[in-house]
Symmetry: C2
Subunit: 215 residues, 2 copies
Amino acid sequence: MSKNSISNSVIRRLPRYYRFLGELENNGYVRISSRELSEKMGLTASQIRQDFNCFGEFGQQGYGYNVSDLRAEIGHILGLDEHTPMILLGAGNLGKAIASHIDFQSKGFDLIGAFDTNADIIGKEIGDLTVRDIDELEQFCRENKPVAAILCVPTGAAEKMADLLIGLGIKAFWNFTHYDMRAGRHGIAVENVHLGDSLTTLSYGLNSMEHGEEE
Amino acid sequence: MSKNSISNSVIRRLPRYYRFLGELENNGYVRISSRELSEKMGLTASQIRQDFNCFGEFGQQGYGYNVSDLRAEIGHILGLDEHTPMILLGAGNLGKAIASHIDFQSKGFDLIGAFDTNADIIGKEIGDLTVRDIDELEQFCRENKPVAAILCVPTGAAEKMADLLIGLGIKAFWNFTHYDMRAGRHGIAVENVHLGDSLTTLSYGLNSMEHGEEE
DNA sequence: TAGATTGTTAATCGATTAACAATC
DNA sequence: TAGATTGTTAATCGATTAACAATC
Protein backbone atom coordinates (compact mmCIF):
# COMPACT_ATOMS: atom_id res chain seq x y z
CA MET A 1 0.00 0.00 0.00
CA SER A 2 2.54 2.61 1.16
CA LYS A 3 5.71 3.23 -0.82
CA ASN A 4 8.07 1.59 1.61
CA SER A 5 7.26 0.56 5.13
CA ILE A 6 7.22 3.73 7.21
CA SER A 7 9.68 3.96 10.08
CA ASN A 8 8.48 3.87 13.63
CA SER A 9 9.83 7.33 14.35
CA VAL A 10 7.65 8.78 11.64
CA ILE A 11 4.55 6.89 12.77
CA ARG A 12 4.93 8.22 16.31
CA ARG A 13 4.79 11.75 14.92
CA LEU A 14 1.70 11.25 12.78
CA PRO A 15 -0.93 11.63 15.52
CA ARG A 16 0.68 14.88 16.55
CA TYR A 17 0.68 16.20 12.98
CA TYR A 18 -2.94 15.21 12.75
CA ARG A 19 -3.82 17.12 15.92
CA PHE A 20 -1.94 20.25 14.90
CA LEU A 21 -3.47 20.25 11.44
CA GLY A 22 -6.90 19.95 13.05
CA GLU A 23 -6.24 23.02 15.17
CA LEU A 24 -4.95 24.94 12.17
CA GLU A 25 -8.07 23.99 10.24
CA ASN A 26 -10.25 25.18 13.12
CA ASN A 27 -8.37 28.44 13.13
CA GLY A 28 -9.14 28.98 9.47
CA TYR A 29 -5.79 28.09 7.92
CA VAL A 30 -6.14 26.92 4.32
CA ARG A 31 -2.49 26.40 3.46
CA ILE A 32 0.70 26.05 5.48
CA SER A 33 4.37 25.71 4.60
CA SER A 34 6.71 23.19 6.16
CA ARG A 35 8.62 26.10 7.67
CA GLU A 36 5.57 27.63 9.34
CA LEU A 37 4.43 24.26 10.66
CA SER A 38 7.94 23.50 11.91
CA GLU A 39 7.92 26.64 14.01
CA LYS A 40 4.55 25.81 15.55
CA MET A 41 5.49 22.23 16.33
CA GLY A 42 9.11 22.60 17.35
CA LEU A 43 10.49 20.41 14.56
CA THR A 44 12.64 21.20 11.54
CA ALA A 45 11.04 21.96 8.19
CA SER A 46 13.28 19.32 6.65
CA GLN A 47 11.94 16.64 8.92
CA ILE A 48 8.37 17.58 8.17
CA ARG A 49 8.94 17.38 4.41
CA GLN A 50 10.72 14.05 4.80
CA ASP A 51 7.91 12.72 6.94
CA PHE A 52 5.13 13.77 4.59
CA ASN A 53 6.99 12.34 1.65
CA CYS A 54 6.90 8.86 3.13
CA PHE A 55 3.37 8.49 1.87
CA GLY A 56 3.20 10.48 -1.33
CA GLU A 57 3.45 14.01 -2.60
CA PHE A 58 0.93 16.20 -0.85
CA GLY A 59 2.55 19.58 -1.17
CA GLN A 60 2.90 21.93 -4.04
CA GLN A 61 6.12 23.75 -4.79
CA GLY A 62 5.91 27.44 -4.11
CA TYR A 63 2.65 27.02 -2.20
CA GLY A 64 3.00 24.58 0.67
CA TYR A 65 0.41 22.11 1.88
CA ASN A 66 -3.36 22.35 1.85
CA VAL A 67 -4.26 22.00 5.53
CA SER A 68 -7.50 20.09 5.29
CA ASP A 69 -6.38 17.81 2.46
CA LEU A 70 -3.21 16.93 4.32
CA ARG A 71 -5.12 16.33 7.52
CA ALA A 72 -7.62 14.06 5.80
CA GLU A 73 -4.80 12.15 4.14
CA ILE A 74 -2.95 11.58 7.42
CA GLY A 75 -6.22 10.60 9.06
CA HIS A 76 -6.76 8.03 6.36
CA ILE A 77 -3.25 6.64 6.74
CA LEU A 78 -3.85 6.35 10.49
CA GLY A 79 -7.07 4.46 9.85
CA LEU A 80 -9.21 7.08 11.59
CA ASP A 81 -12.05 6.66 9.15
CA GLU A 82 -12.51 3.07 10.33
CA HIS A 83 -14.97 2.00 13.02
CA THR A 84 -13.11 -0.94 14.51
CA PRO A 85 -15.26 -2.59 17.18
CA MET A 86 -13.46 -2.54 20.54
CA ILE A 87 -14.13 -3.98 23.97
CA LEU A 88 -12.96 -3.03 27.46
CA LEU A 89 -11.62 -5.70 29.81
CA GLY A 90 -11.64 -4.56 33.41
CA ALA A 91 -14.12 -1.81 34.24
CA GLY A 92 -12.60 -0.63 37.51
CA ASN A 93 -11.53 2.95 38.19
CA LEU A 94 -9.05 3.17 35.34
CA GLY A 95 -11.05 1.22 32.75
CA LYS A 96 -14.15 3.25 33.46
CA ALA A 97 -12.26 6.53 33.26
CA ILE A 98 -10.65 5.65 29.96
CA ALA A 99 -13.89 4.41 28.46
CA SER A 100 -15.64 7.64 29.32
CA HIS A 101 -12.75 10.02 28.69
CA ILE A 102 -11.66 8.95 25.21
CA ASP A 103 -13.40 9.91 21.99
CA PHE A 104 -13.23 6.51 20.29
CA GLN A 105 -15.11 7.52 17.15
CA SER A 106 -12.53 10.11 16.15
CA LYS A 107 -9.73 7.57 16.70
CA GLY A 108 -11.15 4.93 14.37
CA PHE A 109 -12.72 2.75 17.06
CA ASP A 110 -16.17 1.96 18.37
CA LEU A 111 -16.46 0.82 21.98
CA ILE A 112 -19.14 -1.87 21.95
CA GLY A 113 -18.70 -3.77 25.21
CA ALA A 114 -17.22 -3.73 28.72
CA PHE A 115 -16.46 -6.71 30.93
CA ASP A 116 -15.43 -7.36 34.52
CA THR A 117 -15.29 -10.21 37.02
CA ASN A 118 -16.33 -8.14 40.01
CA ALA A 119 -19.99 -8.55 40.96
CA ASP A 120 -20.07 -4.99 42.34
CA ILE A 121 -19.13 -3.64 38.93
CA ILE A 122 -21.13 -5.93 36.65
CA GLY A 123 -24.39 -4.29 35.63
CA LYS A 124 -23.12 -0.74 36.17
CA GLU A 125 -23.35 1.75 33.33
CA ILE A 126 -20.38 3.29 31.51
CA GLY A 127 -21.68 5.85 29.08
CA ASP A 128 -24.25 3.92 27.08
CA LEU A 129 -22.74 0.50 27.89
CA THR A 130 -23.64 -1.89 30.67
CA VAL A 131 -20.72 -3.77 32.21
CA ARG A 132 -21.08 -7.49 31.49
CA ASP A 133 -19.87 -10.54 33.34
CA ILE A 134 -16.68 -11.85 31.81
CA ASP A 135 -18.46 -15.20 31.46
CA GLU A 136 -20.38 -13.67 28.59
CA LEU A 137 -17.19 -12.72 26.74
CA GLU A 138 -16.98 -15.71 24.46
CA GLN A 139 -20.54 -15.53 23.29
CA PHE A 140 -20.33 -11.77 22.89
CA CYS A 141 -17.26 -12.11 20.69
CA ARG A 142 -18.89 -14.74 18.51
CA GLU A 143 -21.88 -12.48 18.01
CA ASN A 144 -20.24 -9.07 17.75
CA LYS A 145 -16.73 -9.85 16.45
CA PRO A 146 -14.73 -7.17 18.27
CA VAL A 147 -11.26 -6.67 16.77
CA ALA A 148 -9.59 -4.51 19.42
CA ALA A 149 -9.41 -4.66 23.21
CA ILE A 150 -8.49 -2.35 26.07
CA LEU A 151 -6.69 -4.23 28.82
CA CYS A 152 -7.37 -2.74 32.24
CA VAL A 153 -7.27 -5.97 34.22
CA PRO A 154 -4.81 -6.59 37.07
CA THR A 155 -1.29 -7.25 35.74
CA GLY A 156 -1.37 -10.83 36.97
CA ALA A 157 -4.39 -11.62 34.81
CA ALA A 158 -3.11 -9.83 31.72
CA GLU A 159 -1.14 -12.52 29.92
CA LYS A 160 -3.90 -15.14 30.16
CA MET A 161 -6.52 -12.61 29.18
CA ALA A 162 -4.48 -11.55 26.15
CA ASP A 163 -4.11 -15.14 24.98
CA LEU A 164 -7.81 -15.76 25.45
CA LEU A 165 -8.69 -12.66 23.49
CA ILE A 166 -6.32 -13.56 20.65
CA GLY A 167 -8.15 -16.88 20.48
CA LEU A 168 -11.42 -14.96 20.20
CA GLY A 169 -10.18 -12.94 17.25
CA ILE A 170 -8.77 -9.79 18.84
CA LYS A 171 -6.05 -8.25 16.68
CA ALA A 172 -5.17 -5.06 18.57
CA PHE A 173 -4.46 -4.38 22.24
CA TRP A 174 -4.43 -1.10 24.08
CA ASN A 175 -2.61 -2.36 27.12
CA PHE A 176 -2.71 -0.48 30.44
CA THR A 177 -1.37 -3.36 32.56
CA HIS A 178 2.26 -3.79 33.58
CA TYR A 179 2.52 -6.91 31.49
CA ASP A 180 4.93 -6.11 28.63
CA MET A 181 3.12 -7.31 25.54
CA ARG A 182 5.52 -7.82 22.66
CA ALA A 183 4.06 -6.07 19.68
CA GLY A 184 3.90 -7.64 16.28
CA ARG A 185 3.86 -11.32 17.05
CA HIS A 186 1.20 -13.24 15.12
CA GLY A 187 0.11 -10.08 13.38
CA ILE A 188 -1.17 -8.56 16.62
CA ALA A 189 -0.92 -4.79 17.07
CA VAL A 190 -0.03 -3.63 20.57
CA GLU A 191 0.15 -0.26 22.22
CA ASN A 192 1.53 -0.47 25.74
CA VAL A 193 0.69 2.56 27.84
CA HIS A 194 2.58 1.92 31.09
CA LEU A 195 1.54 4.89 33.18
CA GLY A 196 3.95 3.76 35.89
CA ASP A 197 6.93 3.99 33.54
CA SER A 198 5.74 7.40 32.46
CA LEU A 199 5.68 8.71 36.02
CA THR A 200 9.06 7.10 36.66
CA THR A 201 10.49 8.97 33.68
CA LEU A 202 9.10 12.20 35.12
CA SER A 203 10.88 11.44 38.36
CA TYR A 204 14.14 11.12 36.48
CA GLY A 205 13.48 14.34 34.57
CA LEU A 206 12.78 16.28 37.74
CA ASN A 207 15.75 14.95 39.64
CA SER A 208 18.27 15.26 36.83
CA MET A 209 17.11 18.85 36.43
CA GLU A 210 17.75 19.58 40.08
CA HIS A 211 21.24 18.19 39.68
CA GLY A 212 21.98 20.75 37.01
CA GLU A 213 21.41 18.88 33.78
CA GLU A 214 19.17 21.37 32.03
CA GLU A 215 17.89 19.94 28.80
CA MET B 1 26.70 14.16 38.71
CA SER B 2 26.51 11.49 36.00
CA LYS B 3 29.46 10.90 33.68
CA ASN B 4 27.97 12.58 30.65
CA SER B 5 24.36 13.57 30.16
CA ILE B 6 22.47 10.38 29.42
CA SER B 7 20.67 10.18 26.10
CA ASN B 8 16.92 10.20 25.97
CA SER B 9 16.77 6.75 24.42
CA VAL B 10 18.58 5.30 27.40
CA ILE B 11 16.40 7.13 29.91
CA ARG B 12 13.24 5.76 28.29
CA ARG B 13 14.56 2.25 28.87
CA LEU B 14 15.46 2.72 32.53
CA PRO B 15 11.97 2.26 34.01
CA ARG B 16 11.63 -0.98 32.11
CA TYR B 17 14.99 -2.25 33.36
CA TYR B 18 13.91 -1.32 36.84
CA ARG B 19 10.68 -3.27 36.50
CA PHE B 20 12.32 -6.37 35.08
CA LEU B 21 15.03 -6.36 37.73
CA GLY B 22 12.30 -6.12 40.37
CA GLU B 23 10.59 -9.19 38.96
CA LEU B 24 13.87 -11.08 38.79
CA GLU B 25 14.57 -10.16 42.39
CA ASN B 26 11.12 -11.41 43.42
CA ASN B 27 11.81 -14.64 41.60
CA GLY B 28 14.98 -15.17 43.61
CA TYR B 29 17.59 -14.20 41.04
CA VAL B 30 20.83 -13.02 42.64
CA ARG B 31 22.90 -12.44 39.53
CA ILE B 32 22.14 -12.02 35.84
CA SER B 33 24.27 -11.61 32.75
CA SER B 34 23.60 -9.07 30.03
CA ARG B 35 22.91 -11.98 27.67
CA GLU B 36 20.27 -13.56 29.90
CA LEU B 37 18.59 -10.22 30.55
CA SER B 38 18.66 -9.41 26.84
CA GLU B 39 16.72 -12.57 26.07
CA LYS B 40 14.09 -11.81 28.69
CA MET B 41 13.65 -8.23 27.60
CA GLY B 42 13.98 -8.55 23.85
CA LEU B 43 17.04 -6.31 23.58
CA THR B 44 20.64 -7.02 22.60
CA ALA B 45 23.22 -7.79 25.27
CA SER B 46 25.41 -5.11 23.77
CA GLN B 47 22.78 -2.46 24.25
CA ILE B 48 22.22 -3.46 27.84
CA ARG B 49 25.92 -3.20 28.65
CA GLN B 50 26.16 0.14 26.88
CA ASP B 51 23.12 1.41 28.77
CA PHE B 52 24.36 0.34 32.19
CA ASN B 53 27.75 1.83 31.50
CA CYS B 54 26.27 5.29 31.10
CA PHE B 55 26.20 5.63 34.85
CA GLY B 56 29.16 3.66 36.14
CA GLU B 57 30.51 0.14 36.31
CA PHE B 58 28.01 -2.12 38.00
CA GLY B 59 28.93 -5.46 36.56
CA GLN B 60 31.79 -7.80 37.23
CA GLN B 61 33.64 -9.56 34.44
CA GLY B 62 32.99 -13.27 34.34
CA TYR B 63 30.05 -12.92 36.72
CA GLY B 64 27.44 -10.49 35.42
CA TYR B 65 25.35 -8.08 37.45
CA ASN B 66 24.04 -8.37 40.97
CA VAL B 67 20.29 -8.07 40.53
CA SER B 68 19.34 -6.21 43.66
CA ASP B 69 22.36 -3.89 43.64
CA LEU B 70 21.73 -2.98 40.04
CA ARG B 71 18.04 -2.43 40.70
CA ALA B 72 18.73 -0.19 43.68
CA GLU B 73 21.26 1.77 41.66
CA ILE B 74 18.84 2.36 38.77
CA GLY B 75 16.12 3.24 41.27
CA HIS B 76 18.43 5.84 42.75
CA ILE B 77 19.29 7.27 39.34
CA LEU B 78 15.57 7.54 38.60
CA GLY B 79 15.00 9.37 41.87
CA LEU B 80 12.65 6.71 43.22
CA ASP B 81 13.95 7.11 46.75
CA GLU B 82 12.62 10.66 46.79
CA HIS B 83 9.21 11.69 48.15
CA THR B 84 8.44 14.64 45.92
CA PRO B 85 5.16 16.24 47.00
CA MET B 86 2.67 16.19 44.13
CA ILE B 87 -0.82 17.57 43.55
CA LEU B 88 -3.66 16.61 41.22
CA LEU B 89 -5.43 19.26 39.17
CA GLY B 90 -8.78 18.08 37.89
CA ALA B 91 -10.39 15.30 39.89
CA GLY B 92 -12.89 14.09 37.30
CA ASN B 93 -13.10 10.53 36.03
CA LEU B 94 -9.56 10.36 34.73
CA GLY B 95 -7.86 12.30 37.51
CA LYS B 96 -9.59 10.23 40.15
CA ALA B 97 -8.69 6.97 38.42
CA ILE B 98 -5.04 7.92 38.09
CA ALA B 99 -4.81 9.12 41.66
CA SER B 100 -6.18 5.86 42.98
CA HIS B 101 -4.54 3.55 40.46
CA ILE B 102 -0.91 4.66 40.67
CA ASP B 103 1.52 3.72 43.42
CA PHE B 104 3.09 7.12 43.90
CA GLN B 105 5.37 6.12 46.76
CA SER B 106 7.27 3.60 44.66
CA LYS B 107 7.71 6.16 41.87
CA GLY B 108 9.35 8.79 44.08
CA PHE B 109 6.25 10.92 44.62
CA ASP B 110 3.79 11.65 47.39
CA LEU B 111 0.30 12.76 46.39
CA ILE B 112 -0.67 15.40 48.93
CA GLY B 113 -3.58 17.27 47.38
CA ALA B 114 -6.34 17.22 44.77
CA PHE B 115 -8.19 20.19 43.30
CA ASP B 116 -11.19 20.82 41.10
CA THR B 117 -13.53 23.63 40.11
CA ASN B 118 -16.69 21.52 39.99
CA ALA B 119 -18.85 21.87 43.08
CA ASP B 120 -20.11 18.30 42.63
CA ILE B 121 -16.57 16.98 42.96
CA ILE B 122 -15.18 19.29 45.65
CA GLY B 123 -15.36 17.60 49.03
CA LYS B 124 -15.35 14.08 47.62
CA GLU B 125 -12.73 11.60 48.81
CA ILE B 126 -9.98 10.13 46.66
CA GLY B 127 -8.12 7.55 48.71
CA ASP B 128 -7.19 9.50 51.83
CA LEU B 129 -7.46 12.90 50.19
CA THR B 130 -10.42 15.27 50.07
CA VAL B 131 -10.85 17.17 46.81
CA ARG B 132 -10.37 20.88 47.45
CA ASP B 133 -11.72 23.94 45.70
CA ILE B 134 -9.18 25.32 43.26
CA ASP B 135 -9.53 28.65 45.09
CA GLU B 136 -7.50 27.12 47.90
CA LEU B 137 -4.63 26.23 45.55
CA GLU B 138 -2.48 29.26 46.18
CA GLN B 139 -2.62 29.03 49.93
CA PHE B 140 -2.12 25.29 49.83
CA CYS B 141 1.02 25.70 47.74
CA ARG B 142 2.44 28.32 50.07
CA GLU B 143 1.90 26.03 53.02
CA ASN B 144 2.78 22.65 51.53
CA LYS B 145 5.21 23.48 48.72
CA PRO B 146 4.27 20.81 46.18
CA VAL B 147 6.89 20.37 43.45
CA ALA B 148 5.04 18.20 40.92
CA ALA B 149 1.55 18.31 39.41
CA ILE B 150 -0.77 16.00 37.51
CA LEU B 151 -2.73 17.89 34.88
CA CYS B 152 -6.16 16.34 34.30
CA VAL B 153 -8.02 19.54 33.54
CA PRO B 154 -9.84 20.19 30.24
CA THR B 155 -7.37 20.91 27.44
CA GLY B 156 -8.59 24.48 27.10
CA ALA B 157 -7.64 25.25 30.69
CA ALA B 158 -4.27 23.50 30.56
CA GLU B 159 -1.94 26.25 29.40
CA LYS B 160 -3.18 28.83 31.89
CA MET B 161 -3.14 26.25 34.68
CA ALA B 162 0.42 25.27 33.84
CA ASP B 163 1.60 28.88 33.94
CA LEU B 164 -0.17 29.44 37.25
CA LEU B 165 1.42 26.34 38.74
CA ILE B 166 4.90 27.30 37.54
CA GLY B 167 4.36 30.59 39.34
CA LEU B 168 3.50 28.64 42.47
CA GLY B 169 6.72 26.66 42.35
CA ILE B 170 5.78 23.52 40.42
CA LYS B 171 8.78 22.03 38.62
CA ALA B 172 7.38 18.84 37.09
CA PHE B 173 4.20 18.14 35.12
CA TRP B 174 2.53 14.84 34.40
CA ASN B 175 0.30 16.12 31.64
CA PHE B 176 -2.80 14.21 30.55
CA THR B 177 -4.36 17.06 28.58
CA HIS B 178 -4.03 17.54 24.82
CA TYR B 179 -2.03 20.67 25.35
CA ASP B 180 1.49 19.95 24.11
CA MET B 181 3.73 21.16 26.89
CA ARG B 182 7.25 21.75 25.66
CA ALA B 183 9.54 20.00 28.06
CA GLY B 184 12.65 21.58 29.41
CA ARG B 185 11.85 25.27 29.24
CA HIS B 186 12.71 27.14 32.43
CA GLY B 187 14.01 23.98 34.05
CA ILE B 188 10.55 22.42 34.10
CA ALA B 189 10.28 18.64 33.64
CA VAL B 190 7.33 17.48 31.56
CA GLU B 191 5.90 14.09 30.77
CA ASN B 192 3.09 14.28 28.24
CA VAL B 193 0.88 11.23 28.25
CA HIS B 194 -1.51 11.85 25.35
CA LEU B 195 -3.79 8.86 25.55
CA GLY B 196 -5.49 9.99 22.36
CA ASP B 197 -2.24 9.82 20.40
CA SER B 198 -1.59 6.40 21.85
CA LEU B 199 -4.93 5.06 20.63
CA THR B 200 -4.35 6.73 17.26
CA THR B 201 -1.04 4.90 16.96
CA LEU B 202 -2.81 1.64 17.72
CA SER B 203 -5.24 2.37 14.92
CA TYR B 204 -2.32 2.76 12.54
CA GLY B 205 -0.73 -0.44 13.78
CA LEU B 206 -3.90 -2.43 13.30
CA ASN B 207 -4.65 -1.07 9.87
CA SER B 208 -1.12 -1.31 8.50
CA MET B 209 -1.11 -4.92 9.67
CA GLU B 210 -4.29 -5.66 7.78
CA HIS B 211 -2.74 -4.20 4.66
CA GLY B 212 0.07 -6.71 4.86
CA GLU B 213 2.86 -4.81 6.56
CA GLU B 214 3.75 -7.32 9.24
CA GLU B 215 6.24 -5.82 11.63
C1' DT C 1 44.35 -21.86 35.03
C1' DA C 2 40.31 -21.78 31.88
C1' DG C 3 35.81 -19.98 31.16
C1' DA C 4 32.73 -16.43 31.40
C1' DT C 5 31.34 -11.99 30.88
C1' DT C 6 32.13 -7.35 31.38
C1' DG C 7 33.66 -2.50 29.75
C1' DT C 8 34.87 -0.19 25.77
C1' DT C 9 36.29 0.73 21.14
C1' DA C 10 35.17 0.33 16.31
C1' DA C 11 31.73 -0.63 12.62
C1' DT C 12 27.13 -0.32 11.13
C1' DC C 13 22.87 1.27 10.76
C1' DG C 14 19.11 4.54 10.81
C1' DA C 15 17.26 9.03 11.54
C1' DT C 16 17.80 13.92 11.22
C1' DT C 17 19.44 17.95 9.02
C1' DA C 18 21.28 20.60 5.20
C1' DA C 19 21.36 21.75 0.52
C1' DC C 20 19.57 22.47 -3.87
C1' DA C 21 17.47 21.46 -8.30
C1' DA C 22 12.70 21.03 -9.79
C1' DT C 23 8.52 23.41 -10.33
C1' DC C 24 4.42 25.70 -9.05
C1' DT D 1 9.03 36.12 -15.00
C1' DA D 2 10.65 36.07 -10.07
C1' DG D 3 9.80 34.22 -5.58
C1' DA D 4 8.53 30.65 -2.80
C1' DT D 5 8.59 26.20 -1.36
C1' DT D 6 8.48 21.53 -2.29
C1' DG D 7 10.65 16.76 -3.20
C1' DT D 8 14.83 14.54 -2.94
C1' DT D 9 19.67 13.68 -2.67
C1' DA D 10 23.79 14.13 0.11
C1' DA D 11 26.04 15.06 4.65
C1' DT D 12 25.80 14.71 9.46
C1' DC D 13 24.67 13.05 13.59
C1' DG D 14 23.35 9.72 17.02
C1' DA D 15 22.08 5.20 18.46
C1' DT D 16 22.66 0.33 18.01
C1' DT D 17 25.37 -3.64 17.18
C1' DA D 18 29.63 -6.24 16.79
C1' DA D 19 34.07 -7.35 18.36
C1' DC D 20 37.53 -8.07 21.57
C1' DA D 21 40.92 -7.06 25.11
C1' DA D 22 40.62 -6.69 30.14
C1' DT D 23 39.66 -9.14 34.17
C1' DC D 24 37.08 -11.55 37.56
